[in-house]
């Protein structure tokens, strides 16, 4: 479709439909956007033509890519440095186990069970090594675990797990040339300077209508993303690290994060997730459901084998350990980012991409359902007595016009 505005209207219309579906089904907009993208491509592809949705046009790719970069930055910026300091040993041990075991396990399953080539197998390992901090955070917040030591430890471990995934994605497929060395050196300088310069720069020039802070952050993300791409790496790698480094300053500026959120969810991520969904081939999934099952169970089993003993080492009870392990077995955003990276760099085929994304979505849904149904450690929910637990949000009790939180 050559008319860019009609195409834009189609994409924004799909985003609107996805949002309505998310509201009706009480699921996240991202998940809904992936499914809507898949269905739209299926229908529009049959009626109009396979390229009618324009998923591979330069401007759609740019908006979607920017969505992935800003989303990754926000994911890094939401790290709570205080919690990480408190629980760093446990977070590092469990997080590394949560990354390493499924990375190797899923890669081995893809290579030796499915017979994939080496490159696609490593990509499968990366895509299925993730956990989903956001899925876990929603469960923690809803059930009141987010204010407990237990819940904070799980969230901190999830950050380390995802850092492992992002590093693997950014480095494994990098060609390791002189450009890689330049990328590492530039990264080291920028990563050292940003946490020092950014807060001072914002204090001096920020807080104006011109949104200087947003431009500064986008400059850092695009600039480092460009260097990463030039070196054959992946732009989300520096984005996640920049997010983590600025978590203590920009991450605590709720108004700033809220504005970035508006930009991200209002315009950018719909393009990213709908595009990610549009590349999923339903016929490929229907033709080989066993591939999805192998990938999904490879992730689940290897997460169990890696995370369970690591968590157990920190003297949790069996039920707490199992719940912790299942939470670490989730995945969504970085899984789809990794799979899309593989597809766009020709590492995996559209069929392999479809199975990986299906396995990633399965891991977003199934572990949380099992965990909450069978292994929820209710005794850790702030002295639970069968009553709903308090969450970080104000539990308002009003007596005679006086609020008690």
């Amino acid at each position: 479709m050559e008319n860019v505005w009609i195409l834009a209207a189609v994409w924004v219309g799909l985003a609107l439909v996805a949002t309505l579906v998310a509201i009706w089904l009480k699921i996240s907009t991202a998940l809904s956007e992936i499914v809507v993208g898949t269905v739209a491509q299926l229908i529009i592809g049959v009626i109009v033509g396979p390229n009618a949705l324009g998923s591979s046009t330069a401007w759609v790719s740019f908006l979607a890519g920017t969505g992935a970069i800003v989303l990754t930055f926000l994911a890094g910026a939401e790290l709570d440095p205080d919690v990480f300091r408190l629980k760093w040993k446990e977070a590092v041990v469990v997080g590394l186990a949560g990354f390493g075991a499924p990375f190797l396990g899923a890669a081995a399953a893809a290579r030796y069970v499915l017979g994939w080539d080496v490159g696609p197998s490593w990509l499968a390992g990366v895509a299925l090594s993730t956990t989903s901090v956001a899925v876990v955070y929603a469960v923690m917040l809803e059930l009141g675990f987010n204010v407990t030591e237990y819940g904070k430890a799980i969230l901190a471990a999830c950050f380390v797990n995802d850092l492992g995934t992002v590093l693997a994605l950014g480095l494994i497929f990098s060609p390791f040339t002189l450009r890689t060395l330049v990328f590492v050196l530039v990264s080291a300088v920028v990563f050292f300077l940003l946490p020092i310069v950014t807060p001072r720069f914002f204090r001096r020039y920020g807080g104006r209508v011109s949104e200087l802070e947003t431009k500064f952050i986008l400059l850092a993300l695009f600039g480092m993303g460009g260097v990463a791409l030039w070196a054959g790496s992946e732009p989300v790698l520096p984005a996640y690290v920049i997010g983590m480094l600025l978590a203590g300053s920009v991450g605590k500026d709720h108004l700033r994060i809220r504005r970035l959120r508006t930009l991200t969810f209002g315009l950018l991520t719909p393009f990213y997730f709908i595009r990610a969904g549009s590349f999923v081939s339903v016929p490929a999934l229907a033709a080989a459901p066993v591939v999805f099952s192998v990938l999904f169970f490879a992730k689940m089993v290897s997460k169990m084998l890696g995370v369970f003993p690591a968590v157990k080492a920190f003297r949790y009870e069996p039920q707490e350990t199992m719940y912790y392990t299942l939470m670490m077995s989730t995945g969504l955003t970085f899984g789809t980012i990794s799979a899309l990276f593989g597809l766009s760099h020709g590492i995996i085929t559209p069929g392999q991409y479809s199975h990986l994304v299906a396995a990633v979505i399965g891991s977003a849904v199934i572990p949380t359902l099992i965990a909450n149904a069978l292994f929820m450690p209710v005794h850790l929910r702030g002295g639970d007595t069968g009553e709903p637990a308090p969450t970080a949000a104000p539990r308002e009790v009003v007596r005679g016009g006086t609020d008690h939180v």
Binding site: K26, S28, T29, L71, Y137, A138, A393, R399
Partner: protein, 140 residues
């Protein structure tokens, strides 16, 4: 007669009628009254913490507004009233709160679903009447 009254409130017309009835009853019977609001779930399977936080902020803001409405109605009737916000399934949370708080009257609003919807799904009010540990007053 009734000493502890629990009103379920979600801001709908039916719930507002229930709250007015509950306040009037509490005043007439010199009973204690509490107002319960049940928060809806956060979006499941979110892509980023930002999405979850944004949803949580919206939900909190919505319930702050509802709490103020309830508080204003109680103040108009000259009544002291607890406003409790809980998270969970609507029917389960209302019934469990009534049980745990030893309430002896539950006041809920009539939502007015279609007859077909009511037959297929069973309305919230019908489920509460069926499961409640105490008498239920259905306000319309």
């Amino acid at each position: 007669m009734y000493k502890r009254i629990l009103v379920a409130y979600d801001g709908s017309d039916g719930a507002r009628a229930a709250l007015k009835q509950g306040i009037a009853l509490a005043d007439a019977l010199e009973a204690e009254i509490s107002c319960l609001m049940v928060e809806e779930h956060l979006p499941h399977y979110a892509a980023s913490i930002s999405e979850v936080k944004a949803a949580k902020e919206q939900i909190d803001e919505h319930f702050r507004t509802l709490a103020k409405q309830a508080r204003d109605l109680a103040a108009l009737g000259g009544i002291d009233m607890d406003v409790i916000v809980r998270q969970g399934h609507e029917v389960e949370t209302i019934v469990n709160t009534a049980k745990a708080g030893h309430f002896d009257l539950l006041v809920v609003g009539y939502h007015g679903h279609s007859a077909i919807f009511g037959r297929i799904m069973g309305s919230t009010a019908q489920s509460i009447v069926r499961l409640s540990p105490c008498p239920v007053l259905l306000a319309k």
